[in-house]
């Protein structure tokens, strides 16, 4: 299919963006990496009047460490997440997630802001943001507000973003030495959206005790799912085979996965358990793993 006729505006500043929104109202849609939006245009699923390209807006770019937090600009490409030294050091989960997303050509264009705003329940970055307890900076002509990633995703492809509002940046607390993170997924082919995936973050103290566990699952619900019961089952326990089994058991009540083309809900639930065990096993001390 061919695209419908659409207008295009390249915003060079936030003011350009607000101006375009004032002029075109609801007909204006933000374009970032285009890796989702342009495909949906070719399906004629959406027919925006005007695309406002935000990729030249400097305020939305860059990764920096400021005020004790790591700030990742919304325009940061997936490929940049994979190679940025600050991300690697302070939010290694994002760096680890990037290679799971699609293919190199898509990673060179797709942005973290676009991924979070689109809110695909099988996408990696929203789950990572939830696992890392990220704060999203939302910006509109009316001003800025900050929301937690956990509450940002409100349903299938839906978020707290209000008309005219954009994601400007994602902020996380820099990883502490005690932090352990992992991302694992099962996808039919490399680069496919996951049938089920886990983004896991927790802290392990010197005695191997778990603190602040945040296991977030993707591809198993209508949004990234923070596994509250599994997290409770882990918190404060020494991480060992029994703790992992308890978390896997508790996970059953955290998930209510839908069926999809790949299989029934039982399959997703099963895969989520397998991934939980595999992810947590990675955090075990070497001798436990051997056992």
């Amino acid at each position: 299919m061919k695209w419908p006729a659409i207008g295009y505006i390249r915003a060079r500043s936030l003011d350009d963006l607000w101006e375009a929104q004032r002029t075109h109202g609801a007909a204006a849609q933000v374009l970032a990496g285009g890796q989702t939006l342009l495909a949906t245009l070719a399906f004629r699923l959406s027919e925006p009047g005007v695309l406002v390209d935000i990729t030249r807006i400097p305020e939305l770019r860059g990764v920096s460490l400021a005020g004790g937090a790591l700030r990742i600009g919304a325009l940061t490409r997936h490929a940049e997440l994979a190679r940025d030294p600050l991300v690697a050091r302070h939010a290694p989960l994002f760096a680890a997630a990037a290679p799971h997303i699609a293919h190199p050509a898509i990673r060179n264009r797709g942005t973290i802001g676009g991924s979070l705003a689109y809110a695909d329940p099988a996408a990696e970055l929203p789950a990572c943001a939830v696992a890392l307890d990220a704060t999203l900076h939302l910006l509109s002509a009316r001003g800025e507000r900050r929301v937690k990633a956990e509450g940002f995703f409100t349903g299938l492809l839906s978020t707290l973003l209000e008309p005219g509002e954009i994601i400007a940046a994602v902020e996380v607390a820099p990883a502490s030495p005690a932090q352990r993170t992992a991302i694992l997924e099962v996808a039919r082919r490399s680069g496919d959206y996951a049938m089920a995936g886990i983004a896991a973050a927790l802290e392990l103290d010197a005695t191997g005790r778990v603190a602040a566990p945040r296991l977030a699952f993707f591809g198993v619900g209508d949004r990234p799912v923070l596994a509250n019961r599994a997290n409770v089952a882990l918190a404060g326990r020494v991480l060992d085979a029994q703790a992992i089994a308890a978390a896997a058991e508790a996970l059953g009540d955290d998930l209510d996965p839908p069926a999809d083309l790949h299989g029934p809900p039982e399959m997703k639930r099963h895969l989520a358990r397998v991934l939980l065990r595999r992810a947590l096993t990675q955090f075990l001390p070497a001798k436990e793993m051997a056992a």
Partner: protein
């Protein structure tokens, strides 16, 4: 530079002449393809050309109550809207049956339906506009009022009481059924030491050509001719179809097919949207282009392999196969596809089950039924992967039941290599096959002992790996017994014209076609070999009904075996003609001369006597210097058709080494091997590519590819994100070996090689997965082998 010279392909002076056959000559058309200088149908732009887009049925089955076109006609750029009735004014419907398939029936099909849509995706209304985008705007503005009707989607209930009869005038949904029997199946099974049975399912899937179906039809009112540029496998067949149904003379239709970006059988059928395009061009007197997009490809390209097969095998205590008993059911959509019909795939299952083995008792029935899904028809390796999965699945299960090694079991049961000629229980005649030599060669390539040791070691660590085998036969070089005998104007013969021009260069025009598989490369090789010129001096013309000898095109593995032989015969005839002329010039007997690398040489000494360019100069410009009555036609045409055997069967065996993650159900193919016998290997590079590509397509069908419908007949897999094709990251290293048993029907001795990979790969993988799962007591027989199915078989979900 990519110039192909004798030196660049490792030829020495001593190798010459006649040394291109059997060499890995790179394809001459590759630079053009990779530099973007190919001419696909969509690259053709004609003056006054318009573009078509179709409104397709959103329902699996619905009555068309009304079609409101005013808003579409008012859309900027839209020129005209056509409904089924408009097209029917100039175009007659077709009924896709073949006389030799006894009792076969199907309903008349119009390019655009007159009353009812019978599958989701069926083209219903066409909009013609100044651009494709404008045509799509027009389609969006159409208003069609539908009355949704109950849909018959499940093939299992298609013949049951209460089924929706899709074409009431046919009485029921039965298209065709055939049973082949040999020996006494009941007695053999009753007396057997062991009987093993299973139900196999092969998933409906499709070809996914990189270049989608494409056509431009241009009717010239001034001279009454229709010129069609089309991405097709069979230009001459399409010429006949357009002529017949648009009421034109065959000679007034010309079909041109330049480069094709893959076909795999998808582009050898008559599609209603493409015929509609020709009809619209006929009505408007303007060229009309239509290029299917990926959405419409998924809903309107033919699908294939939608089969459920219940089958059993009987063996004696020594492990000899006593018989096969097979019941095949297939759903083909609402119409049999024209003109090859949709009964052939089921018929092939009947022909091919048990094919590699020596046994006497056979019963196989196919039942072909209608359903409200996209039509199915012939797709690469028609019926072979199905028959091979059934046969090889049962063979492995029988070996297991007897506690025998699967290789040893095959060893006792494969037809002996000295047992030919031979007729199979299903009536197939084999001229010469090499099952045992192929197995020997495979065992040289596959380190079975090492693999078994690794398998045991890995199992101890909870890693499940399996090794699977699949012997197969493949039907190639078809004679008129395939289609012509049934009344279809589908040519089994093919022709080639080889000529020499004044500069000594050679041009070959052939009726077989290039689909991206390298046909033009082997034609150039054969012509160079036959005449005696460097291959870079050969130009190839294919894909033009006005400029090539009449032929069947590309299908059922015939390009090399049939088209190649015609090329060889005409090239040899041209060489003989050249030598006669040279003899007169050099005052030597033609038998004492030869043509080597573009030069006439003394046969005994190899001393160059005359270049072909010099010979050409004299013949074409100084003919006055030659003897008056010397024949001087430096152009020769030969046609070839097989005569002794209805088909040239080939054979081979594959092995697959795979790992199953028993917690996630994911399958990783670790390594794959294929030994095949396509007779004379003309170009090892191309044959290996064909086998590898075929294996990848076979593995795709076994692991990923699936046209998934819901119960209402909605196709759920309409993008490449949902319909999963195999990609390089998941594909294993593939090792290819050859045994050569040339057919004696031709000088060239070539049989087909394009389908061997696809025929055996799914079965080999299935057996590998089941070998991996065996210690856990699980087995899968339903393709594709998805994580969900494997986890279910393991009892984990």
């Amino acid at each position: 530079m990519n110039e192909i010279t004798p030196a660049s392909i490792g030829l020495s002076r001593e190798d010459l002449p006649n040394s291109y056959i059997g060499r890995s000559v790179p394809r001459p058309n590759v630079p053009k393809l990779v530099q973007g200088r190919a001419t696909y149908t969509d690259d053709v732009v004609l003056p006054r050309m318009l573009h078509a887009a179709f409104l397709r049925s959103p329902h699996a089955h619905a009555r068309i109550l009304s079609i409101e076109t005013a808003a579409a006609l008012a859309t900027p750029g839209v020129v005209r809207v056509f409904t089924g009735r408009d097209i029917a004014e100039v175009c007659d419907p077709w009924v896709a049956v073949l006389d030799h398939l006894k009792g076969m029936k199907s309903a008349p099909q119009h390019p655009l339906p007159l009353e009812r849509a019978t599958w989701q995706g069926e083209p219903v209304v066409a909009v013609v506009a100044e651009s494709r985008a404008a045509a799509e705007d027009g389609v969006a503005a159409l208003r069609v009022e539908w009355e949704p009707l109950p849909a018959q989607t499940d093939m299992e209930t298609a013949l049951a009481p209460g089924a929706v009869v899709i074409h009431p005038e046919l009485g029921d949904n039965l298209v065709f059924t055939r049973t082949a029997t040999a020996g006494d199946v009941e007695a053999a099974f009753a007396a057997a030491h062991k009987v093993v049975e299973a139900t196999f399912v092969t998933a409906r899937h499709t070809g996914v050509t990189l270049e989608p179906r494409s056509i431009i039809a241009d009717y010239n009112r001034a001279d009454g001719t229709l010129t069609v540029h089309q991405s097709t496998q069979a230009p001459h067949m399409m010429q006949g179809v357009f002529a017949k149904h648009l009421r034109l003379r065959e000679s007034d239709v010309r079909v041109i097919c330049k480069d094709v970006g893959g076909s795999f059988g998808i582009k050898v059928h008559v599609y209603p949207d493409e015929v509609a395009v020709a009809a619209m061009a006929r009505i408007m007197g303007r060229p009309v282009k239509f290029v299917a997009d990926r959405f419409e490809s998924f809903t309107s390209d033919i699908h294939a392999r939608d089969h459920r097969i219940k089958a059993r095998i009987a063996v004696d205590a020594q492990g000899k196969i006593l018989g096969f008993d097979v019941d095949d059911l297939t759903g083909i959509g609402p119409y049999s596809v024209y003109p090859r019909t949709s009964a052939i795939e089921g018929n092939q299952v009947v022909n091919l089950c048990g094919g590699p083995y020596d046994f006497v008792n056979y019963r196989c029935t196919t039942t072909v039924v209608l359903q409200n899904k996209a039509p199915t028809c012939q797709y690469r390796a028609v019926g072979h992967p199905i028959a091979t999965a059934v046969t090889e699945g049962l063979v492995d299960m029988a070996a297991e039941a007897l506690g025998m090694d699967p290789i040893a079991f095959r060893r006792i049961n494969l037809i002996r290599d000295d047992a030919y000629p031979r007729t199979s229980p299903s009536g197939m005649r084999f001229e010469g096959l090499s099952h045992h030599a192929s197995l020997d060669k495979l065992l040289e390539m596959v380190p079975v002992e090492k693999i078994r040791a690794d398998q045991a070691a890995q199992r101890a660590r909870g890693v499940y790996r399996g090794l699977g085998f699949a012997s197969f036969i493949e039907l190639t070089n078809p004679s008129p017994f395939m289609y012509g005998i049934g009344g279809a104007r589908i040519s089994a013969q093919d022709g080639a014209t080889v000529r020499m021009d004044p500069d000594g260069s050679i041009t070959i025009a052939s009726g077989v076609t290039e689909q991206g598989q390298g046909t033009e490369a082997i034609l150039a090789q054969i012509a160079a070999h036959g005449v005696g010129v460097p291959v870079e001096r050969v130009k190839v013309i294919t894909g033009d009904t006005q400029n090539t000898p009449y032929g069947g095109g590309t299908w059922a593995c015939r390009g090399a075996g049939i088209g190649g032989e015609a090329a060889l015969q005409s090239a040899l005839a041209l060489r003989a003609q050249i030598l006669e002329v040279a003899g007169a010039m050099l005052q030597a007997k033609p038998e004492t001369l030869d043509v080597v690398m573009g030069e006439v040489v003394d046969r005994a000494s190899g001393t160059p006597r005359l270049s072909l360019a010099e010979l050409g100069r004299i013949v074409y410009f100084r003919g006055d210097t030659l003897p008056r009555d010397l024949p001087r036609e430096l152009v020769q045409t030969r046609h070839f058709i097989t005569k002794e055997y209805p088909f040239a069967f080939t054979n081979g065996i594959q092995a697959c080494w795979a790992e199953v993650d028993v917690e996630t159900g994911m399958v990783k193919v670790l390594e794959h091997w294929c030994v095949e016998d396509c007779g004379r290997v003309i170009n090892p590079l191309l044959v290996d590519e064909q086998v590898r590509g075929g294996i990848v397509q076979g593995l795709g069908g076994a692991l990923y590819e699936h046209c998934v419908y819901d119960a209402e007949g909605n196709l759920l897999t309409t993008t490449l994100a949902d319909y999963l094709v195999p990609m390089s990251a998941e594909m294993p290293d593939i090792h290819v070996g050859h045994v050569e048993t040339p057919t004696r029907e031709s000088l060239l001795g070539a049989k087909g090689a394009g389908e061997a990979g696809t025929a055996g790969a799914p079965a080999a993988l299935m057996n590998a997965i089941n070998d991996a799962l065996r210690p856990l007591g699980a087995r899968v027989t339903e393709q594709p082998f998805t994580p969900a199915r494997i986890l279910k078989a393991l009892g984990r979900i």
